[in-house]
């Protein structure tokens, strides 16, 4: 068995990346954002899932990112390093619609009880207090495949109802997503620095599946703006292993995304 670490040995971002990476399965096709999602997917690819394929919105299939040369977005040449294929960005997004993608993996600015994401507006869309950068491919990805979201666990980010649904989760819960005209995909996991969450199979409300080492359910609830459900059995995640941390730090030596 490999050596484990204590929570003082890693940053919140490193923890999120490692925990999120563990959710990926070998052979999957993962549509990833830059930052934590890319780090997590690369970690999975190198550790346990050599047949995993990363897709980038810029039009890239199956790259191997070079440590220390993380791309500034999903649209620069660093994204194409040792890739199997480069194609127009519209066409890589269409892979989602056709169904080739197993998992969409992105960060989030604001999420609600039903896993809807907001990256467009804080405040009303007509007169926002903050105009956020917008959807990018987020709306397409979350409309068309199963989602993992990696984000910091803060009360202002985990809200009862998002100001604006940029990327649809389970909409209003139960079968409302399908009734809207989205028969496939949906929010699957939310990974934070406190816990791993899923969604109740019936009501589609967010529920805690596992707590990170040293974190209590009350602590997660305190940092969440709506009542969280608990899974029937709430587990505890295994702490980050040294080699997971080492690889994250090799990939992001300048702590661009893991500070």
């Amino acid at each position: 068995m490999t050596e484990q670490t204590t929570s003082s040995a890693y940053t919140a971002s490193e923890l999120i990346a490692i925990m999120a990476g563990r959710l990926l399965v070998d052979g999957q096709i993962v549509f990833a954002g830059v930052g934590i999602p890319l780090l997590a997917a690369t970690l999975a690819q190198r550790n346990v899932a050599p047949k995993l394929t990363i897709l980038f919105e810029g039009g890239v299939i199956g790259p191997f990112i070079r440590p220390g040369e993380l791309p500034p977005s999903t649209n620069e040449q660093r994204c194409t390093r040792r890739a199997n294929m480069v194609l127009p960005s519209t066409d890589v997004l269409l892979l989602l619609q056709r169904g080739y993608v197993d998992v969409g993996f992105m960060g989030g600015a604001q999420i609600d009880r039903y896993g809807n994401l907001n990256s467009s507006f804080i405040g009303p869309a007509e007169k926002p207090s903050i105009r956020l950068p917008g959807t990018g491919g987020g709306n397409d990805i979350s409309s068309l495949t199963n989602m993992i979201v990696a984000m910091k666990h803060e009360k202002r980010r985990f809200v009862e109802k998002v100001d604006f649904i940029t990327s649809p989760g389970w909409i209003d819960g139960r079968d409302s997503r399908a009734r809207c005209g989205l028969p496939t995909g949906g929010m699957w996991r939310v990974v934070t620095d406190l816990a791993v969450m899923g969604f109740d199979a019936e009501t589609r409300e967010m529920e805690v599946l596992a707590l990170h080492p040293g974190v209590s359910f009350a602590q997660v609830q305190d940092n969440t703006g709506f009542p969280l459900r608990r899974a029937r059995e709430v587990g505890v995640t295994a702490p980050p292993r040294r080699e997971e941390l080492a690889l994250i730090r090799e990939l992001d030596p300048d702590r661009l995304y893991t500070a």
Partner: protein, 323 residues
Amino acid sequence: MTSDALVRDYDTLRRDLAARDRGLREKVTTLEQAATLVRDGDHVAIGGCTLSRTPMAMIWQLIRAGRRNLTVSRSITSTEGDLLFASGLAHTIVSSWFSQGIVWGISKVMRHHVENGLAAFEEWSHMAIGMRYRAGAMGVPFVPVRSMIGSDVARIRGDQVKPIRCPFTGEEVMAVPALNPNVALIHVQRADPYGNAQLDGLQFMDIDIAMAADKVILTTERIVSNDQIRRAPDHTRIPFFTVEAVVEVPYGSVPHECYGQYEPIFAQLDRYAALIAKDPVAGARQYLDDYVHGPKDWSDYLAKVGIDTLLTASRRGRVIFND
């Protein structure tokens, strides 16, 4: 194009295209001359994406030429969007994402203009923008998609997206409207004097944009002979008859990258970010004064960016071919 019509009607679209000179002719010109092809009020589509193959020299020239009231569309918008707003060149940007880049945080210039109602950032999903260009490229008024459904991204577009029922399956999908820009600005690695263009690496939406637009202004790192193009016609990505002007502009995407040629000029991007962090209005104005209006030409601008910086970016850009 009547600027208020969402989709140009087919008769007009065909008439507009029939009027274009599609003969095989040389189109090499200067940035200054090419800029005259853009009229105030036009819808201008910008090729590349985020920090990649942005036709920066052409945008730079349009700002210098004082064009106004453009509607600009691009898959993802970065610092060039800030400059478009801050200079008054564009009043509306149609895009899926708008900020300098994730590592620099949310664009303060975009926020200033949008939150104060000075300009509009019209948001569509990334695929929807791509499919709008593709419908425009194909000469159909709409295409069906399965995203932008159930979200507020669709809701705030109002009548600009509409559900449509499949006549075969009966299911409802989303129709997105064709987009035929008046002008497309595209930067490439190589083109011949007629406008046949080759792209290395990431293509983004450039081919659809070229086919959809009324005219393409092509800037290119290098002009090659038509003979070279004809030796590998399966590498041509944009056909000459879509193109109205070809301008050779080495380092034409700086401070953004050009695949295989140079990486982004991170020092310059950091400097810009620092300027607008203090004050988005004054900072952007200073950047425009120093780097757009100040230099006597594009080479002078490059000199201000710095030769060492350019060489470093070039070395990094070429490593993609080293493996």
